[in-house]
């Protein structure tokens, strides 16, 4: 039986982060993962992450994964792939299936970072081929490069549902509808807005009544529900689809911890059955730690910090660092984690109805119900101002911990204010030089460069564009509204793709000037 100072189960963001922290302080670490590739869900995440610089903001998920793997390799973490941990025992022994054999390992400490599994909901026809999890769709598109289907209905408006809907559009699928039984959109407004401006209709307070088809999925009927989630008769709507994606939450895969005898609790706020852990992530079994989604559903950025904490804690637990050093490291990480857990979407605000931003501005109701900020709501947000000449318009309307925009502008036009969750605003005295860095840096694709009056009755709008093929200069088409409706004729006058933009291309379109604050997307005719 091989012995390691630290055994990590799961090579996702949290497991790898934990392993790195431990290995760089000299501990002998092994990481097991049942998949053939490390990185967990990170390699499916092709969108730019939110947060601050320290949280890898505006870096695409898979790049963060690559960085983690490189770092793990450099500090000597051994990552065993295709290795399924089939048992974890209270004396910190694990049995692992590797190939056609079972091997046993003994750990001085064990960090369980097994992540989570997708939830499902049932409706007649839910077992038909074509009804899949949103994570499965992401795997098909972003790992294997295949379309899950041609016409897709997405169930669930949390960040997973919104992000995957956008990725489906990027992969060339048609998203016919985004449906959620809740009365308001669960994920970030900016994620919803970029899906809405492509013309995807949102159906809140709706659920799937039935999926149609005999051998495979051919269509779906949805209906409206009342405030007790009971179907309202006569509200049925039919869509022809070949795919239904379900993004209805995640459940921690905590069975290993239960098996090891850790005290567990059923905590709906954490997503289900989770271990009871102390402030360091240690479970009730001494030396067994939990980190990441397995101890409560959050997202990759906080999973990485939790992983680091567990990594630091095992170093302290095994005496590799002093108690003081451990405490000071943990304190730093806790501050980091706290800054991520701020704003409207913070875990502490889950389920709460928030009506005003931190600045005291009324939240856009339309954004919560339809996925886009209405024309008569947008003007009240601080990032939306009118100026002569080219200037940024920042349609950032919810308090989320994210600030890449303020560092993006070399002229210092943009400020977030004191708190990372504050809405960005334009500094009065600033001068925009039309570099476009702010547009490309916004992970929510919510910044536009607008020249409201070019002097000839037209206006130009520079927008973030992450679709292929890219339009070309001279292409004629339509300016689309925030909900994807054709507003006016538009012509592409500039297309910029720079390395610094990291695949967020900048398309500038010319529209009649009355649409300067209304047109937010371009569609070729």
């Amino acid at each position: 039986m091989d012995r390691y100072e630290v055994i990590v189960v799961g090579a996702g963001p949290s497991g790898l982060s934990a392993a790195i922290e431990a290995a760089k302080r000299g501990l002998k670490v092994i990481v097991f993962d049942e998949n053939d590739k490390p990185g967990g869900q990170l390699f499916k995440q092709i969108h730019k992450f939110f947060g601050s610089k320290e949280h890898h903001a505006k870096i695409r998920g898979f790049r963060i994964g690559e960085e983690l793997l490189k770092e793990a390799d450099e500090v000597g973490v051994k990552v065993e792939l295709g290795a399924t941990v089939i048992g974890l025992y209270s004396d910190k022994e694990v049995s692992v299936r590797i190939g056609d054999t079972i091997k046993h390992y003994k750990g001085d400490t064990v960090i369980v970072a097994t992540g989570a599994a997708e939830n499902m909901v049932t409706f007649p026809g839910w077992t038909l081929p074509g009804v899949i999890g949103a994570g499965a769709a992401q795997t098909m598109m972003n790992i294997h490069g295949i379309q899950p289907g041609k016409k897709v209905l997405m169930l669930g408006s949390g960040n997973v549902g919104l992000v995957v809907s956008f990725q489906l559009l990027q992969a060339g699928c048609e998203v016919v509808a985004l449906v959620d039984a809740a009365p308001k959109i669960g994920g970030y407004g900016v994620h919803a807005a970029k899906v809405a401006r492509c013309g995807v209709p949102f159906f809140l307070s709706h659920t799937i009544k039935e999926a149609h088809g005999t051998d495979y999925l051919t269509g779906v009927t949805i209906n409206e529900v009342d405030d007790k989630f009971r179907p309202i008769e006569g509200t049925e709507k039919f869509f022809e689809v070949d795919t239904i994606c379900m993004a209805v939450g995640l459940s921690p895969m905590s069975q290993l911890l239960k098996m090891a005898g850790c005290k567990m609790e059923d905590n709906p706020k954490r997503g289900g059955q989770v271990p009871i852990v102390d402030e360091y992530g240690e479970t009730s079994v001494s030396g067994v730690f939990a980190a990441g989604d397995v101890s409560g559903i959050e997202e990759a950025s906080s999973a990485m910090i939790e992983g680091k904490m567990a990594g630091v804690c095992v170093c302290g637990y095994l005496g590799y660092i002093s108690e003081e050093e451990m405490q000071s490291e943990i304190q730093k990480l806790e501050t980091d984690l706290d800054s991520l857990r701020q704003g409207m979407f913070a875990p502490k605000n889950r389920g709460k109805l928030i009506e005003k931003t931190e600045e005291g501005i009324d939240i856009s109701i339309n954004l919560l119900k339809k996925g886009f900020v209405a024309d008569d709501e947008i003007e009240r947000f601080p990032g939306v101002v009118h100026k002569v000449g080219i200037h940024p318009v920042m349609e950032c309307t919810q308090n989320i911990p994210c600030n890449p925009c303020q560092d993006a502008c070399s002229k210092g036009c943009i400020s977030i204010g004191n708190n990372i969750t504050c809405l960005p605003f334009i500094k009065e005295e600033s001068k925009c030089v039309n570099c476009g860095m702010c547009v490309a840096s916004c992970s929510g694709q919510a910044i536009f460069l607008v020249d409201e009056d070019c002097g000839d009755g037209t206006a130009t709008i520079t927008l973030p564009y992450e679709f292929l093929p890219l339009p070309e200069v001279g292409d004629k088409g339509f300016g689309l509204s925030r909900n994807g409706e054709k507003l006016c004729e538009a012509e592409v006058v500039s297309v910029k793709s720079m390395k610094a933009f990291d695949h967020t291309n900048l398309v500038t379109m010319k529209v009649p000037k009355e649409y300067a604050m209304k047109a937010r997307f371009f569609k070729c005719s």
Partner: protein, 106 residues
């Protein structure tokens, strides 16, 4: 954390529902009706349901259905799903062929 369920309470008669033939556990092909009937047969814990019907004992080991089954059982008993203790977790955590399980190497 385990919640003792008072087995003397009356949960009433089994009343058929229109979607009773809907499959819940895909691996073992167990329907909603079968799960509801099992509750009326006296299976009031997740472990009992699992042993009685084999829900969650197939290929995916309950990854998909355990939450769904829990919800159905809780509704039948008119309790909160959080009050039901999940079924025992034991090795092997993933489906493993006997020939592999028996081939231990040091």
């Amino acid at each position: 954390m385990s919640v003792v369920i008072d087995r003397s309470i009356d949960i009433g008669e089994f009343v058929p529902q229109p979607d009773d033939d809907m499959i819940i556990c895909r691996c073992e092909e167990i329907t909603k009706g079968e799960i509801r009937k099992a509750v009326h047969d006296g299976m009031w814990t997740m472990t009992e349901i699992r042993r009685y019907l084999r829900t969650g004992m197939g290929l995916c080991q309950g990854q998909t259905c355990s939450r769904l089954v829990k919800g159905i059982v809780a509704r039948e008993l008119a309790i909160n799903p959080n009050e039901l203790e999940p079924a025992t977790a034991r090795s092997p955590m993933r489906p493993t062929e006997m020939k592999v399980l028996g081939k231990e190497v040091s």
